[in-house]
Structures are given as C-alpha cells and as structure tokens.
C-alpha cells in the first residue's frame, strides 16, 4: 500500500520537476533525447573493465541536474532503489574473474571487481541521466519528441493516454488496496483469490471507464485520429547543446581523459 502512494508520488514529483523553466527545461525535447541516447551508447560501448574513462561522463548528468535545478538527493534515492537487479547480475563477476589485474599497496584488485564496479558506475550514470531527462523535459514533451523522430502516432497516443490515466487508476487501486487492508487481519484476505476478484473488479471498472471516455471523445467529433498541435522549434541554443555534447561524448569515448590527467599528475609527483 505504501508503494502505491510512493510510486504515485514519484511520478507526480518528476512531473512537477519538469514544470520548471530553467534553461535546460526550455531546450527542445528532441535534442535532449538525442544527446541522452548518444551519451548512453558512448558509455555502453566502453570496455567492460573500464572505470576511469567513465568518470568524465558524469559531467552530463551533473550538468543537467545542476542547471535543471533538480534535487540530487531525491534522484540518488531513486537510482539506489532501482539498483538491485544490476547489482545481482554484476556481483558474480568478482567471483568468476579473480585474475589480479593490479595492486594498490598490498591489496590485489581482480578484474572481476573492476568490471563489477564498472557495471555499477555505468548503471548510476545511465539511470541518473534518464531520470534527469524526464525531470527536465516532462513526459508529454518526450512523447512529442518521439513522434517527431518517427515513432508511430498510434504508439505516441497510447503513451499519452496511459500517462493521463495512471493518476486516475492508481488512486482507484490505492483506495481498493486500502479498503482491503483495513479489513484483512493476520494476512488473511491477502491471497490470490481475493486479489483475483479485486483486480477483476478494477478491470471491469476500467473497461467501463474506457467506454465512457470513448463516448466523451465521440461527442466531440473523434474520428479515429488524434490531432496534436504542438509547435516544436529548434533554435541555435538547441543545436549548440546537441552538437556540443555529442562532440564531447565522442571525444571522451575515444580518449581516456583521466589517464592523460593521471599520467600528468604522477609524472609531476616523480
């Protein structure tokens, strides 16, 4: 039950964050989406033992979070909540790949630990960035961007409808779950049979609602086609944003900046 309200809160909160008007929020949703895709591909194409080369990529999510006025702690919590699956898959690496790759003092670091750390850093970078994308762009704008980039109208409309009714139906489900838990004791009443008729009831109500919405659409001239009137215009800032970040990502992908930097430092130390 607490998960219902907290998930709803999450969607709500990200949605509210996307209603700000910082310079990041004002960018065309397409350039943000494309830059994010280039970012993710650059990161994922790096070698699996790579750690240092990943570090400079952090600048992009940090940039979005800082200029987009996003709450870092809140996003961090969301990233951690989503981490278990990647962690469970990655944690095997240290046990399966125990070749010592280098030493820090007396401690040998194995390739497995390196690749595990690499997985978790990639995870954090990509998830932070996707959350920052949605929190600076908003779901509707992302959908518009998708449509302009060639995703079929039918699917975009599906996404928009789904998003619209998440709020309505989640609240409905929340009320039902609350009503059930208030009358369930010692775990009785939480089984599959009750669940089945509860979900079934919710489903029937949902189908009725779909019918009512359809009538509401028909009485306003719906003919099977949803018309969306969103003017999207790319200006110089958008082009600068996309080309600048893309160039940086490719550069960071090709040259391991931290190595060059580290070499410089250790060279100085000697």
């Amino acid at each position: 039950m607490s998960t219902i309200s907290s998930s709803l809160f999450d969607v709500n909160h990200l949605d509210a964050l996307s209603n700000q008007t910082t310079c990041i929020h004002r960018l065309d949703p397409r350039v943000k989406l494309l830059a994010t895709v280039v970012f993710i591909v650059s990161i994922m194409s790096l070698d699996r033992y790579q750690i240092s080369a990943l570090m400079p990529f952090a600048i992009y999510p940090i940039f979005l979070i800082a200029l987009g006025n996003l709450p870092f702690k809140y996003l961090l919590r969301k990233v951690l909540l989503a981490a278990p699956f990647a962690f469970l898959i990655g944690i095997w690496n240290p046990f399966l790949d125990s070749n010592v790759s280098f030493h820090i003092g007396p401690v040998g670091i194995s390739g497995g630990w390196l690749s595990f750390a690499s997985i978790m850093i990639r995870f954090a970078l990509t998830v932070f960035t996707v959350l920052a994308l949605i929190a600076t762009t908003g779901f509707n704008a992302v959908c518009m961007a998708l449509e302009r980039l060639g995703v079929p109208r039918g699917f975009v409309v599906q996404l928009l409808f789904l998003y619209r009714y998440i709020f309505v139906l989640t609240e409905e489900a929340g009320r039902m779950a609350r009503a059930r838990s208030l009358r369930s004791f010692d775990g009785k009443g939480m089984g599959i049979r009750v669940f089945g008729s509860m979900i079934g009831n919710l489903l029937l109500r949902t189908l009725d609602r779909a019918q009512r919405i359809h009538i509401a659409m028909l009485s306003r001239g719906f003919d099977g086609e949803i018309r969306l009137a969103y003017p999207l215009k790319v200006n110089r800032r958008d082009i600068l944003f996309l080309s600048g970040w893309t160039a940086l990502f490719i550069l960071l992908r090709l040259f391991n900046l931290p190595y060059l930097l580290g070499d410089m430092f250790s060279g100085l130390a000697k």
Binding site: N140, I215, L218, R220, G221
Partner: protein, 250 residues
C-alpha cells in the same frame, strides 16, 4: 431555424437483456430554455441523456435536435450541435494538457489553427479558466476540472448543452461558483441532477422522470414546491424550501 431545439417523441429503450429503461418519454425544449431533469436513481436520466448526446439511437420513438431526427446516419451532424458534459470530468479530460482537451473538438471539426486558438481562448475565458491552459488535467482541483470539462464542449459552440450532475463532488464554494457560471450561460441546456437547490437556481423548468416515464413537467418553482409530487418521484423538497431545523419555521 426551428423554435423547438430538442424534441423527444415517445422514446422507448430497453437494455440488451430486455430490462426496460425508457417507456415512452416525450417533451419539447425551446431555444434558450434551461431544463432540470430530475428523478431517483435508475429513473432513466442517464439513458435519456445518452440518447440526446447521440450515443444511443432510439429503438422506437424519435429524438430531434434542431431540425435533424437522430438516426445512425445523422449522428455525426447531430454531435456537432450538442455539447455533452459528463459526470466524471476524468472521463472527459483525456488529453495531456487542458489546452489539448479544449482544442480537441475544434481540431476534429477541421478549423484552421487561428480559429482553433481563438475558440480555446474564448471557451477558457467563459469558464474563467484561462490560467489553467497549460496544466495537465491531473493537476486540477475538482472545481477546476468541471470548468475545463465545460470549456471542452463550449469550444465547439454547440447550440445545446447537456450536463450530467455538474455539481456532484464539489465543495460548497466550487459548487456556488459553478452555479453562478451556469446561470450566466445563454445556451439551451438540459441538466440531469439530484441537486435540486441548484435546479432551483439555474433552471426555469423541471422534468421529473420515474421508471422511465415523465411524471411531471413544468416551471421549476411549482414542481419543486409540490411535496406530494416530489415524494412520488422518490425526491425531496430542495433544502431551501424545507423548514428550518433550528427555529422550526415553515
């Protein structure tokens, strides 16, 4: 243009399982009239409204909106002229933003962009919701949702408005504001409701339905003052016409 804008003649309807819902309903509404449609739960109000909105086609009898009899063929034309406001605004507001929802009908009617914009602005202005234009519907209060839901049909400039329970689930102030709004409208309107106090304020004429038939049709003040008649229809006098519980005054 006919003086009679809505005509219902001997309308009958039974549900697919054979349960009768409407048994020979007849009435006529003239231009600019404001009519309350009242009756207990299951009296047939919603079924009647679905016919008026062109969502159901008469099984027997006739419904005429403007000049047009309602048939399968004329449904698209009929729908252009009517504005139907549903009971649950969440059913009516399905687009991402308030603007999209208000622009939905004009865009479907194929108006040019400038005209669409103008219609949206006017409709939002009429209901006093201009400031809500770029909000998603789930960020509106109950009262705001109602206003916007009304704007979504005003933007198609209908010649007649049908409303289902416009004041349900509103807090007293939002209800009062909505009543003020409805009073200002000059549209022909038929309002199905249980809120008889609202009917007293907004509607000049009242029709009582019972078990799918009209049992009374006349000036609101007369009908809502007739305790016996209301009782037959499963209704009660509007609170304002009832005695005061504190001073026991009649």
């Amino acid at each position: 243009m006919s003086h009679h804008i809505v005509e219902v003649i001997d309308l009958e309807y039974s549900y697919p399982d054979g349960t009768p819902a409407l048994g020979g309903v007849s009435f006529t509404v003239t231009h600019g009239e404001s009519v309350a449609l009242v009756g207990s739960n299951g009296a047939g109000k919603s079924t009647l409204l679905l016919h008026l909105a062109g969502c159901l086609v008469p099984q027997s009898g006739e419904v005429r909106i403007g000049h047009l009899p309602l048939t399968k063929k004329t449904i698209p034309q009929v729908r252009r002229n009517i504005g139907m406001v549903f009971q649950d605004p969440d059913d009516q507001l399905f687009m991402p933003l308030v603007y999209d929802d208000v622009a939905f009908a004009p865009l479907n009617l194929g108006f040019p962009p400038e005209e669409v914009e103008q219609r949206v602005v006017n409709a939002l202005n009429t209901v006093g919701a201009t400031h809500l234009r770029n909000r998603p519907p789930y960020r509106l209060s109950g009262g705001e949702k109602r206003r916007v839901a009304i704007a979504t049909v005003l933007s198609m400039s209908p010649s007649v408005l049908f409303m289902d329970e416009p004041t349900s689930n509103l807090d007293p102030r939002a209800r009062r504001e909505l009543i003020g709004l409805l009073k200002r409208f000059e549209h022909t309107r038929i309002i199905a409701t249980h809120d008889l106090d609202m009917a007293l304020d907004v509607c000049t004429r009242t029709i009582i339905l019972k078990n799918g038939s009209v049992i009374a049709d006349g000036p609101t003040v007369d009908i809502l003052g007739n305790e016996k008649l209301l009782h037959t229809g499963g209704l009660e006098k509007p609170l304002r016409l009832q005695g005061c519980p504190v001073c026991n005054n009649n």
